[in-house]
């Protein structure tokens, strides 16, 4: 009986000390951009359709058990040329089979900058593209201002890691294996 009461009190306290959860703030301010290169030119694809969350159970920011998850519906990525978008969807990413790409992982390193509102983080988890999940470590910067969390991250993925054949961009010139990704998006606290 005493044990039951103790657990009850613990649970009540746990509820009040529960961490935090932030969701992506939908809107055109968000940007997910990939840059692909050939020997003669580069091209970009962009979308503002990113969704997901950062969640942690600790009292302090990003502490305790934490989890992050972000996803992008690939049909929304535009390169500026309709024909190229369609080729990318149907032949390269096969979005009829795998319509989204996601990253799910944990924050493994947090460093608060001198500016109290800025954090440099490192996350580790699995990136899912084209039906393949691959372990990835991604750096990022977070700034919290006016109850909005701004996230920026730049990293690369390689087509061969996700069983994607490099497509041709100009006649028979194939794009490079490395695809650079630039993310810039905002989150707001979940109420």
């Amino acid at each position: 009986m005493k044990l039951l009461k103790f657990i009850l009190v613990f649970l009540i306290i746990s509820c009040f000390t529960y961490g935090d959860e932030w969701h992506v703030k939908k809107g055109s301010d968000n940007l997910v951009k990939f840059t692909s290169s050939t020997i003669v030119l580069d091209f970009d694809g962009t979308t503002n359709n990113i969704d997901g969350y950062i969640y942690w159970e600790g009292k302090e920011l990003f502490t305790g058990k934490n989890e992050i998850y972000f996803e992008v519906p690939l049909n929304t990525v535009k390169t500026g040329i309709g024909k190229r978008d369609r080729d990318m969807r149907e032949d390269v990413l096969e979005t009829n089979l795998w319509p989204i790409t996601y990253f799910k992982g944990n924050i493994v390193n947090v460093k608060q900058n001198k500016n109290q509102n800025k954090y440099t983080i490192k996350v580790k988890g699995k990136m899912f593209i084209h039906g393949v999940e691959k372990e990835l470590e991604i750096p990022g910067d977070i700034k919290i201002e006016n109850e909005i969390m701004s996230v920026t991250s730049n990293f690369s993925v390689f087509l061969k890691d996700y069983n994607i054949e490099a497509p041709s961009l100009l006649a028979f010139i194939k794009v490079a294996q490395e695809i650079k990704l630039n993310l810039n998006f905002k989150l707001e606290q979940s109420r």
Binding site: E21, G80, K83, L170
Partner: protein, 289 residues
């Protein structure tokens, strides 16, 4: 005691619920424009595909006049002469495109608009319907014709309803293009018209290679010559060939009995009979950017 147990259970459940992210998964975006054929046109017909708003398309097409049967001396027709068409298309919206083209056959200038009407995104039988309307201006004034370049008789008008569908997991595309042409023979004393039922089928082996066949029977109306230096009637058009698709380009390579390129000329029929072994070589290149 029971009250404590109930409270305990409620808190455990509550704790388990809130100890997980509350985030809900994104609804995927609304249906995209249904894409069937890989290009905005086949060798001779429009498809229901359109350019994305602000995108451009460039076309250059050749039809060689000598027959393949002329053999090595004429290099199987490639020595020419040649009917040539250049065209530039532009996406006004994602579903409306405009194309301006020119053929050296009677110096025919051609302006057309194509609008997507609707789509049925059925997994087994997808269907897209578009409509195309165009005006042609024949700017060549032949010797012996007393008429200004801008004379109303030099203009032709045409309309096409385009129906596309695909079978076998988007491997086999079928197109139906009932077409109407007004003022089929610009030198006729009375205005002529022609109605045809364009049909085409294209089989995609993979993203790069496909083979196709086109047939454009004349259902009713004028089926004569289109130039003063031609003789005889026009014939049902047949063409077959292969497409090579790579890096934003589509190459059509074909054999056909019809060397006419612009729609207001092609729709009158072929200038040679398929049964007379008057097959000619031709090609087209499309570039999207």
């Amino acid at each position: 005691m029971n009250r404590i147990k109930v409270t305990f259970i409620i808190f455990v459940c509550n704790f388990l619920i809130i100890a997980q992210p509350k985030w809900k998964k994104t609804e995927l975006p609304a249906e995209l424009n249904l894409g069937l054929f890989h290009a905005t046109q086949t060798a001779n017909f429009p498809t229901t595909e359109s350019l994305q708003k602000g995108n451009l398309m460039y076309e250059i097409s050749h039809r060689f006049l000598p027959s393949i049967k002329d053999g090595f001396d004429e290099f199987y027709g490639l020595d020419g002469p040649t009917r040539i068409r250049f065209a530039l298309g532009y996406g006004l919206t994602d579903e409306l495109m405009v194309t301006l083209g020119r053929s050296n056959n009677t110096d025919n200038l051609d302006l057309q608009l194509k609008q997507k009407l609707f789509q049925v995104n059925n997994k087994n039988l997808p269907l897209v319907v578009s409509v195309l309307g165009g005006i042609s201006w024949n700017t060549e004034v032949p010797n012996g014709i007393v008429r200004s370049r801008g004379d109303g008789d030099n203009f032709q008008f045409y309309g096409q309803l385009i129906l596309n569908t695909m079978f076998f997991d988007k491997k086999l595309g079928i197109g139906l293009v009932p077409s109407y042409l007004q003022n089929s023979f610009i030198y006729a004393l009375e205005k002529q018209h022609t109605f045809t039922l364009g049909t085409y089928a294209q089989y995609y082996f993979n993203r790069m290679w496909s083979m196709w066949v086109e047939y454009n029977p004349i259902i009713t109306g004028y089926r004569g010559r289109i130039r003063l230096d031609e003789t005889g009637k026009s014939y049902n058009s047949v063409a077959f060939g292969a497409d090579i698709e790579t890096g934003g380009h589509i190459f059509h390579i074909m054999v056909t009995n019809n060397a006419r390129l612009n729609p207001s000329q092609y729709l009158v029929g072929a200038d040679r009979s398929a049964s007379d072994d008057m097959w000619r070589l031709g090609f087209g290149i499309l570039r999207y950017f």
